[in-house]
């Protein structure tokens, strides 16, 4: 299945135009590059960011703890001031009824002292007999019964004068508004005897908690205070994020949750000397994590990449694909059958050279074609020449005159013979259509021709034949022997002034058929022999005939000619069997 898809894709891509290919390729590279860039970038950035965030998170948590402790210490100092106040001691040490002078003084002192401190919700001062004075902002319900329980008191006494911090005094103090209170509870000892003389409870507004992280909040950071069982102080709902966080015995722990791009760091910190656990939930923000300079460099790099790839694409398009496309368009004209050269201005590079080569090739092809046409024309002309040489009136009319003379002078038998021969000759000679005939027919034409010529030039020559019958079915181009025989007669024998011989032989030798036309006429000297294949008038008929044979059999080696001036000429036509 995958293979088939890949194959299809490959075929599809192969069939695209070059320009599209380049475009697709560049796009693919850009996409791939960006994707790769993005992932690598994210991976490293996130990793470094995570480390950074986690570390800073710890610091934040500790800092919040310090803030809280610092505030609490301030309050502790205040409670110290109250405890050491003489009016307070007087109230606790002396038997006094409510509304007594001691009580009044104590309250006044507490007011005076606490007035300079923040977060104070209420302050309760108990004597050992649970008589008390208090100051309070807002309404607070006090459940003294809870306080009297042993478990509640034991811890306070065990603190040995130190502060015990409880949320809502473990249920002893409930505000009407429901706002949680932070209760600092400590035993008041006699300064001299160091014996417990009373109990001081300072209830603090939970604002002290919120203020401890006020400065750190924002930027995706949220903090929640919990009690030691991780129950949020301000809310009844448990924080779901805490499910991800493994609660260990450690004072601090943190973990990350969420997906890439939407990560949260969840952490908790058990603040020392307090029953509070601060829980932080921080949304990771890349903007914060990534140094802005690095970000710009990255964007610049990506932009540069895309720019350079685009540039490469444009370059390829402009200097490679476009010229090729134009070249192809120009070349397409050949499809319509015009072997026309491409005239385009192309850069002088490989593509330009391609065009030049293509043009050169076209020139070559045109040359070849015109050569072929030229050759074909020549062949036809030579054939026509040979034909015309005989059809033209000289031969026919002279022969007719000869026959006319015979009719007047000779026995009618001879006239009859001459007329039949003439008819035969012209029938074979003009046999329409086929350019090739059998050697037998060709020799038949020559025989008739010579028979007629003998009537005209009876004292000039004899004709002889020596033919291998088995070779006479070989097909040859028409009228290849007659012009050669005519040459023998007119250029060999007649100028000699003596009776001669024309001999035609056909035989096989070394896998070739040899057709030899021999005459013992005046022959040729070396110079004429060497010029016989020139286009001179002297070689009329010979060159054209040889070229036709060469063309027909597709080889140049089709003839030998030898001659001795004054004695003979021998033309040997060699054709493949």
């Amino acid at each position: 299945m995958g293979k088939r898809v890949a194959g299809k894709l490959k075929r599809w891509f192969s069939s695209r135009k070059l320009k599209q290919k380049v475009r697709y390729l560049v796009l693919a590279i850009i996409a791939l590059y960006l994707l790769l860039f993005f992932f690598i970038y994210m991976f490293f950035i996130e990793k470094s960011m995570m480390n950074y965030t986690l570390e800073s998170n710890y610091k934040t948590m500790v800092s919040i703890g310090n803030n809280l402790n610092s505030e609490l210490n301030t309050i502790k100092s205040m409670s110290q001031l109250i405890m050491t106040n003489s009016n307070i001691a007087a109230y606790l040490m002396n038997d006094s009824t409510p509304g007594s002078r001691y009580a009044h003084n104590a309250i006044t002192s507490i007011y005076d002292i606490s007035n300079n401190f923040n977060y104070i919700n209420s302050i309760y001062l108990y004597r050992l007999n649970w008589q008390s004075v208090h100051i309070a902002r807002g309404i607070t319900y006090v459940n003294t019964a809870i306080m009297k329980e042993d478990a509640w008191l034991k811890e306070v006494y065990d603190a040995n004068g130190g502060c015990v911090i409880r949320i809502n005094g473990n249920g002893a103090y409930i505000t009407k508004s429901g706002e949680p209170l932070i209760s600092m509870i400590r035993v008041v000892n006699d300064i001299d005897t160091q014996k417990p003389i009373g109990l001081l409870v300072v209830n603090l507004s939970s604002k002290i908690l919120e203020d401890s992280y006020k400065d750190m909040e924002g930027n995706g950071k949220q903090f929640y205070y919990c009690d030691e069982s991780f129950k949020p102080i301000r809310s009844v709902k448990m924080l779901t994020e805490l499910n991800k966080l493994e609660i260990t015995g450690e004072r601090f722990n943190q973990t990350t949750t969420g997906n890439l791009g939407n990560k949260k760091i969840v952490s908790y910190y058990h603040i020392p000397n307090t029953p509070f656990i601060i829980v932080g939930i921080e949304k990771m923000s890349y903007a914060d994590a990534i140094p802005s300079k690095l970000g710009w460099v990255t964007v610049a790099l990506a932009a540069l990449t895309i720019f350079s790839l685009t540039f490469v694409s444009i370059f390829i398009s402009r200097y490679i694909t476009s010229p090729i496309e134009r070249l192809v368009q120009s070349m397409d004209i050949v499809k319509r059958g015009w072997l026309k050269r491409v005239s385009l201005s192309l850069p002088d590079d490989e593509i330009g050279r391609l065009k030049d080569s293509y043009n050169n090739m076209l020139v070559e092809i045109n040359n070849l074609i015109s050569q072929l046409i030229e050759k074909e024309k020549k062949m036809q002309k030579a054939e026509l020449d040979a034909l015309q040489e005989q059809i033209k009136p000289h031969f026919l009319y002279n022969t007719l005159d000869t026959i006319a003379y015979l009719a007047l002078m000779e026995p009618s038998e001879k006239v009859y013979d001459a007329i039949v021969t003439l008819g035969n000759f012209y029938r074979k000679f003009l046999s329409s259509g086929s350019k090739e005939i059998s050697l037998r027919e060709e020799i038949g034409i020559v025989k008739d021709y010579l028979k007629l010529q003998k009537l005209r030039y009876e004292d000039v020559f004899e004709d002889e034949y020596e033919l291998d019958e088995s070779l006479l079915d070989k097909m040859v181009p028409k009228l290849i022997l007659q012009p050669l025989v005519e040459n023998s007669l007119y250029h060999g024998l007649r100028p000699k002034g003596e009776k001669g011989v024309i001999k035609i032989s056909v035989f096989k030798k070394e896998d070739k058929i040899h057709i030899v036309i021999f005459d013992n006429g005046i022959g040729m000297n070396e110079e004429r022999l060497s010029r016989i294949m020139d286009n001179s008038r002297n070689s009329f008929g010979f060159k054209g005939t040889i070229e036709r044979i060469q063309y027909y059999f597709g080889t140049d080696d089709v003839y030998d000619i030898e001659s001795v001036e004054g004695w003979y000429t021998r033309v040997d036509i060699k054709i493949p069997i």
Partner: protein
């Protein structure tokens, strides 16, 4: 009576033409034939034709070439060219050299008659000049010079009685008689003798006939062969094989 000479390389055609022309007797008389221009040059002074039928296509010296020569030499001679080709180029050439008319092959009796009628009308028959036959002494030295001239120029195939007479400022028939009287031989015979003696010496060295023919100013080997046989009584080839005397 109009004297006609037929010059054609094909015997059959000469004969046919002769037979045809003889139907026009006694107006016409065929006085001679020649198988080539070369032969005609050598015999025309003997036949003295008024009209010559000349085949245009002949070996050794074609009809045009012969006609040009003949018209120059015999201004009164009417030449009728025989051709198988009705070709403008040919016609133009013929008219250009002063040929009277031409006849197309194959020969038709009707055309011959018409052409003859036309050409005969052009003949200005001059009365036979009957100059006095008293030869001056000076003529003797002329004959000697002419003999020298022939001995030097017998290789030239174009010379004949008329061309020599014109060269030396004589009337042809006058020169003929003068030469015969002074030397006892006709001028033509003298020229032939020069050529044949030379030919014999060539034959003795085994020279091929057509080469010899060329060398002695009769470049038509057929005519040369006839002359040689007539002069020596032997064929040239026999002479080659058996060179005696």
């Amino acid at each position: 009576m109009v004297r006609v000479m037929i010059i054609d390389d094909e015997k059959a055609i000469r004969s046919l033409l002769k037979i045809t022309l003889e139907r026009e007797k006694p107006l016409i008389e065929v006085v001679g034939e020649a198988a080539s221009g070369i032969e005609a040059i050598n015999t025309i002074d003997i036949y003295k034709p008024d009209i010559a039928f000349v085949d245009i296509k002949m070996p050794f010296m074609d009809g045009i070439e012969f006609s040009r020569l003949a018209i120059k030499r015999y201004p009164d001679l009417k030449i009728i060219i025989l051709t198988a080709l009705k070709d403008f180029e040919h016609a133009r050439k013929c008219i250009g050299i002063g040929v009277s008319d031409y006849l197309l092959k194959p020969i038709s009796y009707e055309e011959i008659k018409n052409t003859l009628k036309k050409v005969i009308g052009q003949i200005k028959k001059q009365p036979e000049s009957d100059e006095s036959c008293d030869f001056t002494a000076d003529d003797g030295s002329s004959v000697a010079r002419i003999k020298d001239y022939i001995a030097c120029n017998y290789r030239d195939p174009e010379i004949n009685l008329t061309s020599i007479a014109q060269k030396f400022g004589f009337n042809a028939s006058y020169l003929s008689r003068l030469f015969k009287q002074k030397t006892g031989t006709g001028l033509n015979d003298f020229l032939l003798k020069c050529r044949m003696e030379k030919a014999i010496s060539y034959a003795r060295t085994g020279t091929l006939m057509y080469v010899t023919a060329n060398e002695v100013g009769i470049p038509d080997p057929n005519y040369f062969g006839k002359c040689f046989k007539k002069y020596t009584g032997k064929a040239y080839s026999e002479y080659l094989k058996n060179p005696v005397g």
